[in-house]
Structures are given as structure tokens and as C-alpha cells.
């Protein structure tokens, strides 16, 4: 290496560093929103967020992870606001003083999907708990997220209600510890049942020819099992050591999400000609 080459290399890097350094400037306030992959992948946020950003001249940076990780991000103060779907973990989060309050925003539903042959004979059942019991009784393959996500929590709750404690070392229960897409793909390839939120299933459906909805029906209105409700809440995060509570921007975000205007936009957000979320905030006339 000649000195000239070293010189050229150093100057290139210096130019880069100058560009990086000079970009430190006054910018719109930044709000870090930690949310679940299912919310993010639905495309809803892309649709509604520009309105919030314009009103508050803020920039919302979305970090899409599993609910378990989103809650950890909140606990460490790395997110300013959470939009997640795991009631029990959310309540524990707020009770531990990490969030100011848990405000329900919207809901959709979980469904059980499975192979077209329906080896457990559960197609058309209305009750998820009963369906899980049949799956365990027949020892037909079931694949679990197994990743502490909101969907995994819901699945464990249904097993609990069915009085069954599925054993990951048994021949029919697979806890794969992966995302929803991978889990559905696994179910498709190994002819297994799984629990999935309707939005994700709809968006991946065309690659899942060998799967069908066995419990939950073709749209949210047809799903009569209250245990399959998938409720999303917003929680403004209280930064650790803060005495003033969540940032004003985080509070404004929560208020904006449950405002009548935004709630109407959520109700009007369609995908595959179906509403993906049903607004949940109470508005007194």
C-alpha cells in the first residue's frame, strides 16, 4: 500500500464522517413507536400516521417487533409509545410503572387455520377451546409461535382454558420460536393447525394453498368466540427515572389514536375489501 492510496482512503472516510457530522441539526421531534409486526404489516399505520406527523410536526419512527420485545423496549425506555396486543403483559407493564395507562384502540380477531383434510375434524366449530381440545385429543400436528409474542400468549391462554399443557417434546406440538409468516409456512408444509391473526393470514393467504380457516369463519363478524378477540392498546411509556410521566408527544399520540377522526379512519381501512380493524375507543356523545 502506497502512501497515496492510504491518503485517498483516509480522505474518503473523512468526507463520509463530515457528512455524518454536519447532518446533526434541528429536526422535527422524533417519536419511537414500538408495535407488533401484525399491525405494521397490515399497512394501517402508513395510512393514518401522516396526519399525526403533520399536526405535531413530528416524525414517527416505527419499530416493528414481537409484543414481548416491544414491551422490553418500553421497559428500557427505548420506545416512547407502544401499540401492542397482549392484555396481561400490558397490565403488568402499566402496574410496574413503565407506562402511564393502557388505552384500548381497536380489535380484530384470531382464527385457527389448518390443513384442508382437517384431520382433527374441527372445521366449523365456533369455540376455540373445544377445537384445541380436539387437536390435543387426536394428537394432530399443531405449530406454535413459541416466541412470547401476543399471538403466542393468546394461544397459551386458550390451551390453559382447555385444561391442556402442551408439551413441546411431544410428537404433535411444534414450538418453532419464529414469526407468523414462518409459522404459517411451517403449518402449510407439515399439515399442521395454528393460531393466527386474521390480518396476517389474509395477507399471506395466496402462498398458503393447503390451509383453510377452520375456526373463526370468513370474516370478523362470523367469529363468535369472545376468546379469539385480538385487542390492541396504546401505552405511553414513562421514561425510567422520570417524574413528569410520558413525553407530551407520546401522550398526544395516544390521544390522537383514540380521537373520533382517527377511529373513523381505522374503521375505514380496508384490505381485500374487508375491514382489518374495528375501532374500540369509547366516545361519549
Amino acid at each position: 500500500m502506497r502512501q497515496r492510496e492510504i491518503g485517498v482512503g483516509i480522505s474518503i472516510i473523512t468526507i463520509f464522517l463530515v457528512i455524518v457530522g454536519s447532518s446533526c441539526s434541528s429536526e422535527p421531534a422524533r417519536l419511537i413507536l414500538a408495535t407488533t409486526t401484525s399491525t405494521y404489516d397490515s399497512g394501517l399505520l402508513d395510512e393514518i400516521l401522516p396526519d399525526f406527523e403533520a399536526r405535531n410536526s413530528a416524525q414517527v419512527d416505527i419499530v416493528a417487533v414481537g409484543t414481548g420485545q416491544a414491551i422490553s423496549l418500553g421497559e428500557r425506555g427505548d420506545a416512547d409509545v407502544l401499540l401492542v396486543h397482549d392484555q396481561e403483559k400490558e397490565q403488568a407493564f402499566v402496574e410496574a410503572g413503565f407506562g402511564s395507562e393502557r388505552i384500548p384502540v381497536m380489535y380484530n380477531d384470531f382464527i385457527i387455520v389448518g390443513p384442508l383434510e382437517d384431520p382433527a375434524g374441527i372445521a366449523g366449530l365456533q369455540d376455540a377451546t373445544k377445537a384445541f381440545k380436539e387437536i390435543a385429543l387426536n394428537m394432530t400436528a399443531f405449530v406454535s409461535r413459541g416466541d412470547e409474542s401476543g399471538t403466542h400468549s393468546k394461544e397459551m391462554k386458550i390451551w390453559d382454558m382447555a385444561g391442556i399443557n402442551p408439551d413441546p417434546s411431544s410428537s404433535w406440538y411444534y414450538a418453532i420460536g419464529q414469526g407468523m409468516g414462518e409459522t404459517l409456512q411451517f403449518a402449510q408444509e407439515s399439515k399442521a393447525y395454528t393460531l393466527v391473526d386474521r390480518g396476517t393470514y389474509l395477507s399471506l393467504k395466496e402462498n398458503l394453498d393447503d390451509l383453510m380457516v377452520v375456526v373463526g369463519g370468513s370474516k370478523i363478524e362470523n367469529n363468535t368466540d369472545p376468546n379469539l378477540i385480538n385487542e390492541y392498546s396504546v401505552i405511553p411509556v414513562i421514561p425510567s427515572g422520570s417524574v413528569t410521566g410520558p413525553s407530551a408527544l407520546a401522550e398526544a399520540f395516544a390521544e390522537w389514536l383514540v380521537s373520533i377522526e382517527t377511529q373513523e379512519k381505522i374503521a375505514g381501512y380496508l384490505k381485500y375489501n374487508l375491514p382489518l380493524f374495528i375501532p374500540l375507543a369509547n366516545h361519549q356523545p
Partner: protein, 240 residues
């Protein structure tokens, strides 16, 4: 508020010059530029530190040489996602360097990728320089070269191996997903790079687009490696 979060505006500047940036290809271009900036800077830093460090380890007589070499070789196989986790914990607002507010910005990704590339660059530098005929060093010393001159002569001789060390470092970070996802957050228009975009598209079921992005990443990697190999080819000019 002075805010240094969403850095690396080279992408924005270039996008402003790009005539068709109001359609989907604008975002793709931004992702490509962010990928090049993050991995390019990380590689630059780990080269500036790793090559001299590797040269020092290979050419010095210190007793810890073997131990350091083994540690560097071990570092080459270290799971990037663990590096990402460690960087996350350090840069987290509840971590020791939380004040910097680097988390979920390209700076966090550059930090993680620099740490991932460093053992590759330094370790392979050690290997390349140790492969040089010891006769050459003896001759240099007998001709009265200083330690630095001696190191430069050996490095010139091992130029091919040094370029290979940098190429390995580049390969280790350009396609890395776990750490980039964890510390960058895959934020649109900010920390989304090709590898994390591929994960996102796969998750959303857009397998075709994900595969196309894989093609873009591969082509990018190919072009950059062509440049590296051209540098390697110049080696003959330096033969004495």
C-alpha cells in the same frame, strides 16, 4: 431541539438529485444508499483499525500474539446477533451510552457492523502477513529499515491477502440481518437496509419482491467485489 438521531443525510441529498424520487423506486434507492453508507463506513472504520492492529499482532514479538490471534479467529465466528444484542444493551436509554441517543439510527448499525467486521479484517490480516516469507523481513531489517518501513514492505508483499481480509469483512456485514434489525429497528426511510428489507418483504408474503431485493444485494456485492479484485490485481506493479 438539536437532534442527531436520523443521521446520514447523504441518502436524502442524493435522492433530491434523483429525478424520479416520487415513486416507489425512490425508497428502493434510499435503501440501497443506506446499505452502502452503513456497511461502507463500518468497513472503513474496521479496516483503519483492523489492518494496523492485525499487522501489529503479526509482526510484533509480544508474548500474547498467539492468544490475540486465537481471540480474533474466535471473533470471526461470533454470531452477529449477539454483537447486536450487546450493542443494543449499551446504546439503550437505560444502558451506559444511552445519552448518545444512537439507538434506532444508522450510527447504531455502523457501531454493530464495525464490531462484526473487525475480527474478520484483523484476523485475516494476521493470517496474510504471517504467510509472507520471513526472509523478506530479515532482508529489510538488514538493509536498515525501521519497524514501520518493514511493516509496509511486508504489507505490500501480502497485498492480495489484505484485500481478501477487507472483502471478508465486507461480506460479513453487507448481508447481515440480526444485528441490523435489533439496533437499527428497520425504520422506513431511516435505518432500513437491503437485508432487513428482505426480511420484511418475506414476512409480508411478497416473496417475489424479496427475491428481487436479494438480486439487488447480490449485484451490489458483485460490483463492489469487482472493485476489490481490481485493487488486488495491481499487486504486480509493486513487485520488486
Amino acid at each position: 431541539m438539536i437532534y442527531c438521531g436520523n443521521l446520514l443525510h447523504l441518502a436524502d441529498i442524493l435522492l433530491a438529485l434523483y429525478p424520479f424520487n416520487d415513486n416507489g423506486s425512490g425508497e428502493l434507492l434510499r435503501v440501497i444508499l443506506t446499505t452502502l453508507q452503513v456497511s461502507g463506513l463500518a468497513l472503513g472504520i474496521s479496516t483503519l483499525v483492523g489492518v494496523p492492529f492485525g499487522a501489529f499482532v503479526a509482526l510484533s514479538q509480544i508474548r500474547a500474539r498467539r492468544v490475540i490471534t486465537v481471540l480474533l479467529y474466535t471473533g470471526m465466528g461470533f454470531p452477529p446477533v449477539v454483537v447486536g444484542l450487546a450493542v443494543y444493551l449499551v446504546l439503550s436509554r437505560s444502558g451506559p451510552l444511552g445519552e448518545l441517543e444512537w439507538l434506532f439510527t444508522p450510527l447504531a448499525m455502523i457501531t454493530a457492523q464495525t464490531i462484526i467486521a473487525f475480527p474478520l479484517v484483523a484476523g485475516l490480516t494476521v493470517a496474510a502477513l504471517e504467510g509472507v516469507d520471513p526472509e523478506l523481513r530479515l532482508r529489510a531489517i538488514s538493509l536498515g529499515s525501521s519497524r514501520v518501513q518493514e511493516a509496509i514492505i511486508v504489507m505490500q508483499e501480502a497485498k492480495g491477502g489484505l484485500v481478501a481480509a477487507i472483502v471478508a469483512g465486507f461480506g460479513g456485514i453487507i448481508s447481515e440481518v440480526g444485528a441490523a434489525m435489533l439496533v437499527g429497528g428497520n425504520i422506513e426511510s431511516s435505518t432500513r437496509v437491503l437485508s432487513t428489507a428482505i426480511v420484511l418483504e418475506t414476512r409480508q408474503g411478497a416473496f417475489g419482491f424479496a427475491l428481487a431485493l436479494g438480486g439487488v444485494l447480490l449485484s451490489l456485492s458483485f460490483l463492489i467485489n469487482v472493485i476489490f479484485v481490481m485493487l488486488q490485481g495491481q499487486r504486480r506493479w509493486y513487485r520488486r
